[in-house]
């Protein structure tokens, strides 16, 4: 066997494995969607998961949003002052946050905070036979474990992204108006007259919803299919962050191109 063939073999294997993973993930999504009617019987579990992935992520989302807004105001004030356009600070910050940074950074933080928790929890449930025990008690783990977490992520992400953007605006206001002296009325009036609810805020929310679907799907799928060992769960958790981050950034480009 030549060196070229040897080098080519693993690449072909990885490609096939990667495609098989995508296919398995798609089938898993169909399984979860099919289990939604049965999952709705577990409303208490869904609301418990919304609390865990949504409410418990609020602090990190709010703090990050505040600082991102503050940094954004500083950088944009500097850039706009070159052109004498600091009056547009509120508008530019709001458009950046609602259209782009809010959904994307929230999704990345969500993958790190809630996605990893979902993967590790489900992976450990498999490793300790809890999922098998549910199967043996005639309880479908897809309907009781996977789908409620997936739905919770999909519901929580758009809400968290909007909270992020709102706190970002507050941070930008603190820096731009309170510290750098931009006129308060100009800051808000320019923003409200140039930011469109449907085109900017709703489109940003659609993005956040799509990111919620992919991040939650990747997190739940990785946990559900993690090898039942400590190493397997650790790798699955890492894969959740890596895959979710790449998919979010790639999907962001595609959605931005279509929503522009």
């Amino acid at each position: 066997m030549s060196a070229d063939m040897k080098a080519g073999a693993p690449r072909g294997g990885m490609l096939v494995d990667g495609l098989a993973q995508v296919g398995a993930c798609g089938l898993f999504l169909l399984g979860m969607l099919g289990a939604i009617p049965r999952s709705l019987r577990h409303l208490r579990e869904i609301s418990r998961q919304i609390w865990f992935v949504g409410a418990m992520s609020l602090v990190i989302i709010m703090i990050s949003g505040l600082f991102v807004g503050m940094v954004l105001a500083l950088q944009l004030y500097y850039t706009l002052s070159i052109f004498g356009g600091t009056a547009a600070l509120g508008t530019v910050v709001a458009l950046s946050l609602y259209r782009e940074l809010g959904p994307v950074i929230t999704a990345l933080l969500f993958a790190g905070r809630a996605g990893t928790a979902m993967t590790a929890e489900i992976g450990l449930m498999r490793a300790t036979d809890q999922l098998a025990a549910m199967e043996m008690m005639a309880v479908d783990p897809i309907a009781f474990v996977a789908t409620p977490r997936f739905l919770a992520g999909v519901i929580a992400m758009p809400l968290l992204a909007n909270v992020f953007s709102m706190l970002g605006l507050l941070g930008a206001h603190l820096v731009g108006v309170t510290w750098l002296g931009v006129d308060n009325g100009t800051f808000w009036s320019n923003m409200t007259s140039n930011v469109d609810v449907w085109k900017d805020i709703v489109n940003g929310t659609w993005k956040a919803l799509a990111f919620g679907v992919v991040v939650s799907l990747i997190a739940v799928f990785q946990g559900y299919t993690a090898p039942p060992t400590s190493e397997g769960v650790a790798y699955a958790t890492t894969r959740t962050v890596v895959f979710a981050s790449i998919v979010v950034l790639a999907l962001d480009f595609v959605m931005t191109a279509f929503l522009m």
Binding site: A133, E135, M136, M137, V139, D140
Partner: protein, 274 residues
Amino acid sequence: MPTAAAADALVEVRDLTTMLSGKAVFAGLSLDIPRGKVTAIMGPSGTGKTTLLKHITGQMRPDRGVLRVDGQNVPALGREALYALRERIGYLFQNSALLTDYDVFENVAFPLRQHARLPEVLLRNIVLTKLQAVGLRGAARLMPSELSGGMARRVALARAIVFDPMLILYDEPFVGLDPIALNQVLKLIRTLNRTLGITSILVAHEFAAVRQVADLVHLIANGQCVASGTPEQLARGESDWTRQFFGGDADGPVPFQYPAGDYATALGFTGAAA
């Protein structure tokens, strides 16, 4: 190897063949589990005892063969029918498999909450009755992380019997138990069988413990049932299999050495032989 009790078997296994990673775990396995008795499945490690339990509960499908539980061919059952069957089967996992987010009470109540719409008072009474049966009513509000191994196994047993199943499967119930906990579990298995008439299948290695509770023992090796009988019959060791397994001989029909190439060659002594 079908037994004389085949006519009243709750579980019938016929010509079961299962391949895992290219290796035959079962090669035409046939046996019966009589109704209302405690049957132990014994055999060397890796012989497929837990796999057999997974076949019985439909967690794994065999490649060939028939496996009937209460007259239903499990490998042919659809999801709904399989889940309906599982509601009549209790399964005690080797590691207890308690739900770590729920306390002891909620773990035992879990199957009831999922499948029966019972008034809270009735549900509470059923759960407390089961916990009383395993001696842990006072531990109802403890979390699984606060339980010892023996206590966790008893909670799992309470959960397994909460629906008064027709069949309980015990997967290595004696592993890691101190003598007190071991006797408690033994007593519970015997009591459940005698008072409620629950058919029990026990996968275990501890013959001394099995002897105290089992009515029948099936010895599995090489993918087949190589011996069946009461614990006393098997202890007499009338075949090479029973002599090795129950006598604890290191070598015999089950080789001590995992299949390997020539030892001298592996050590680089090929020239010495010549």
